[in-house]
Amino acid sequence: MSADAVPGRYVSRLAVDPVSQRSVITSEWLKLTTLKSSWITMAVGVGSLALLGGVIGFFTNRAWDQTRPARQAAFEPVAASLGGVRFAELAIGVLGVLFVTGEYGTGMIRSSLTAVPRRLPVVWAKALVFGVTTLVLTEIASFVGFFIGQAALGTHSVALSSDGALRAVIGTGLYLTVVAVIGVALGFIIRSTAGGIAALVGILLVLPGVFLILPQSWQDDLGPYLPSTAGSAVYDLRPAPGSLDPWPGFTVFCLYAIVGLVAAAFVLNRRDA
């Protein structure tokens, strides 16, 4: 690769491949799996999704006779078994942010960008590696959560073949995968861990609440398009009136993630590291 024609100039005999999107993906996979914090945070997210449904089911079942009829009528067994999604969302979103801001905080980003000076492959690789990892793990956890939850619900349970159940279970994993990508994008845009997590919580959890103080017409027109509101349509079997349909809602949520990722690529390319 070096100009070997020049006499006296050093010529390396080390076998090296040019940097490619594939090799950067391998590198990002190693980065994700060689940090203890990744394993812990992922375990918290996946574990809560898989197990919280069982806990909710168990207590719902035990307290059923003391539950008011109105609440009994509103009870939705699929959502109960997937109740861990709120917790999983936080853990996975935070891990997505941390996957990037951890590099800025420690200075690792300078090593990463010296190895991959075209920079953008790093954005795509991080989103892909963390997105796919999240998809696989949360789909498994979502099914586990559903079955454990339904088992714990006993006579109040439903089957996976019941209306919308399969969509909700698969949709939960899909929703969390998009959250993962949004976390990565926010990490690149904001670069600090505290700021990134604040932005993530603000966008996913606080924004829908803030909207409640806006004029009713705004709430009706824009409310359904808020990221987490649109995204949750894919797994919510008792949607609020005016909500987007499951797949259009999920598509809107995906668009947010894509816009975020493009913004991340744009700022990474422009800024000094």
């Binding site: 080390l14 940097v19 200075g107 010296t114 190895a115 075209r118």
Partner: protein, 314 residues
């Protein structure tokens, strides 16, 4: 080979690097010297494509760094600021970098042994001492077996053993025909390692010369003479190319004449000499002389009103 042409960097209003022109050649260690804040680290970050030049360009072997297909194979860099994730082991840190270039695990082990981190390679890099961290940085630099090495203050935080190790390593690497570009703000260190010097101050190029020339050009040789009969000797020494100053009674500082010449003159007139010490300006002094006008941060020697005035000037 590193080539900078009109290389400039501004951070807002502040000019950190100002139209630098230089070429760093292979086969020798080139020292990059300048006082604190001169712009050395900024220049090096621009070579590596981490900071974007405001104006001008810099290339490695004729290409912008970002256009190198396998950058770690062409350029190895040790930055001033730490650039390792503290939660990862040294071994895994190097594996992560190796993966981007498809570099084999055997090479990772090789560089770990080379820098002497074999026993601690599985420990978290965050628990490393300054010196161990520096060695890990060197390992990363050598990972791709690059033809060009860029090191920002590599001896920072190293003990004398470590400094000697780096010095020999760099000379060895240059001896193999590699381009070695090392920054420092210590002239004395550079005089032991580098063959060529690029000196900058306030972002501007001050000197670009072989180190031997630097020593010759800036050293103002003088001779210190102590004699009970200094006043008479002073008259005898007077001449067109000779300046004699006296800081205290019985002591002369002579520029423009060698110690033997002075001794002969004194002997001829029977003047007693108690001391005759030739004094060459050290490299450190030569460097200070060179960069005196371009020091960013002058330290005050006294505290108080005087300091305020100094700050006003800077």
């Amino acid at each position: 080979m590193i080539q900078a042409r009109g290389l400039s960097k501004k951070y807002g209003e502040k000019t950190a690097v100002d139209h630098l022109e230089f070429t760093v050649r292979p086969g020798i260690v080139t020292g990059f010297l300048g006082p604190n804040g001169a712009g050395k680290s900024t220049t090096m970050r621009m070579i590596l494509g981490l900071d974007r030049p405001t104006e001008g360009s810099v290339t490695v072997d004729g290409k912008a760094y970002a256009d190198l297909p396998a950058p770690l194979h062409e350029v190895g860099a040790l930055l001033e600021a730490r650039s390792v994730h503290t939660g990862r082991s040294a071994y895994n840190h190097l594996r992560v970098l190796a993966a981007t270039h498809g570099i084999a695990d055997s090479r990772v082990h090789e560089v770990i042994e080379l820098v002497g981190l074999g026993d601690v390679a599985r420990r978290r890099a965050g628990a490393f001492s300054l010196g161990m961290g520096q060695r890990l940085g060197i390992a990363a630099t050598l990972l791709g077996d690059p033809g060009t090495l860029i090191l920002d203050e590599p001896v920072n935080g190293l003990d004398p053993d470590g400094i000697l190790w780096i010095r020999n390593l760099l000379k060895g690497l240059a001896g193999e025909g590699r381009t070695v570009f090392v920054s420092s703000h210590l002239m004395s260190e550079m005089s032991l390692t580098a063959e060529h010097l690029i000196v900058i101050g306030k972002g501007r190029l001050i000197a670009d010369l072989p180190i031997a020339e630097m020593i010759g050009s800036a050293s103002r040789a003088s001779v210190l003479v102590r004699s009970p009969d200094a006043a008479r000797l002073r008259e005898l020494l007077a001449g067109p190319d000779v300046t004699v100053t006296s800081r205290q009674a019985g002591e002369l500082e002579v520029v423009g004449m060698t110690a033997p010449q002075i001794g002969d003159i004194a002997a001829a007139d029977g003047i007693a000499i108690h001391e005759l010490t030739p004094h060459r300006a050290s490299l450190e002094e030569a460097f200070m002389e060179l960069t005196n006008d371009s020091i960013e941060f002058h330290g005050g020697t006294t505290v108080g009103a005087h300091d305020e005035a100094a700050r006003g000037v800077a």
